[in-house]
């Protein structure tokens, strides 16, 4: 199977990119895939703590790019899985230390060994974003059902169109079904209407997310919580399985809608 470079981005900060990367990574790894995550948020390293790997960092991505270590030396293995690795962001260096062509080169090297290379993009549409999308085959945009997050997501879709990337997928994160039900939160169908990109995941608001980040154990390691299950479903869809959407919203009209729209 050819390897895939997946970039998770959003425009707006704090919508759940890093959480998404960590969860998709463990979900794919628990399906036996060889996975490496790259933290693309130079200066604001975070994926290490969400994965619980922060104590083992010696080298980072800038050390690789500037030749201070071999790629392998900067890769931290997640001991919970045979084949899950993290390449951490540099915490102290200049954001411009890495270029889009550095990212392309690094990913080409990693493709020899991994099924999935997952890049956690920083917020914004500057250098870090450009680095993150340069090598990607698949882009996932994370948004929240909320004004500014949807607006910024649309900007990113436009930028990807301009870069002639394949159409991105959408994850709607932090959905609150009760609020949707009483008409005070955009529904999945509303967000789809506005953005018109294919929805690959719907993740409910879940307080376990905070607990998981406190512990450094992403929820998708188990399928016990709704959000953990949602991430596992996303991972399955990424590898080509047809998984119906969970019934988070009343009526499950969305499922019907999606099946009509894209046959799966």
């Amino acid at each position: 199977m050819p390897s895939n470079v997946l970039t998770v981005t959003s425009g707006k900060g704090g919508v759940g990119k890093t959480t998404t990367v960590a969860n998709i990574a463990v979900a794919l790894a628990s399906e036996g895939k060889k996975v490496v995550c790259i933290d693309g948020d130079i200066g604001l390293r975070n994926l290490d703590v969400i994965l619980g790997l922060e104590n083992r960092i010696v080298y980072d991505i800038v050390d690789i790019v500037e030749g201070r270590c071999r790629t392998r030396q900067a890769m931290i293995r997640d001991k919970r899985f045979p084949e899950l690795f993290l390449i951490p962001a540099a915490q102290t260096r200049d954001k411009n230390a890495v270029s889009p062509s550095d990212m392309i080169r690094l990913c080409e090297e990693l493709k020899a060994e991994f099924d999935w290379i997952i890049i956690d993009s920083p917020a914004g549409i500057e250098r870090g974003f450009k680095n993150s999308i340069a090598p990607s085959d698949i882009v996932i945009i994370v948004t929240n059902p909320e004004m500014s997050a949807v607006r910024d997501a649309d900007r990113v879709v436009g930028l990807l169109e301009a870069e002639e990337k394949k159409p991105p997928y959408l994850i709607i994160n932090r959905l609150k079904p009760e609020l949707v039900k009483r008409g005070d939160m955009l529904s999945v169908a509303d967000v789809y209407d506005l953005l018109h990109i294919e929805v690959i995941g719907i993740v409910p608001e879940d307080e376990n997310t905070v607990i998981a980040s406190n512990k450094g154990i992403p929820l998708a390691i188990e399928a016990k919580t709704k959000s953990g299950q949602a991430y596992r479903n996303i991972a399955k869809r990424l590898v080509g399985e047809q998984v119906p959407f969970m019934n988070l919203e009343s009526g499950s009209l969305w499922n019907k809608l999606i099946h009509l729209g894209r046959g799966g």
Binding site: M147, R151, D154, D184, L194
Partner: protein
Amino acid sequence: MGLFSSFFGKKSASNAKERLKLVLIHDRVNMNNGTLELLKDEIIAVISKHLDIDPNMVKIDFETQGRSQKLVADIPFRSSPTKKNR
């Protein structure tokens, strides 16, 4: 009361959707929301040089299909009383 209900009234999602629709249209074509009125005035001025249109009936608006946008203009002629009387 009106103000209060407009701040805290239920069904704010439909509010959000309508507002977002407009914001996204303008973001996508890279045009500020006020510019359309300006454009409308200019179009009316140009067409009026050649045709007898009714400026009050002119409708110019964006339409969205999927992720693409178009500008749709509806420009009726002035119903001329002299013609009608004939």
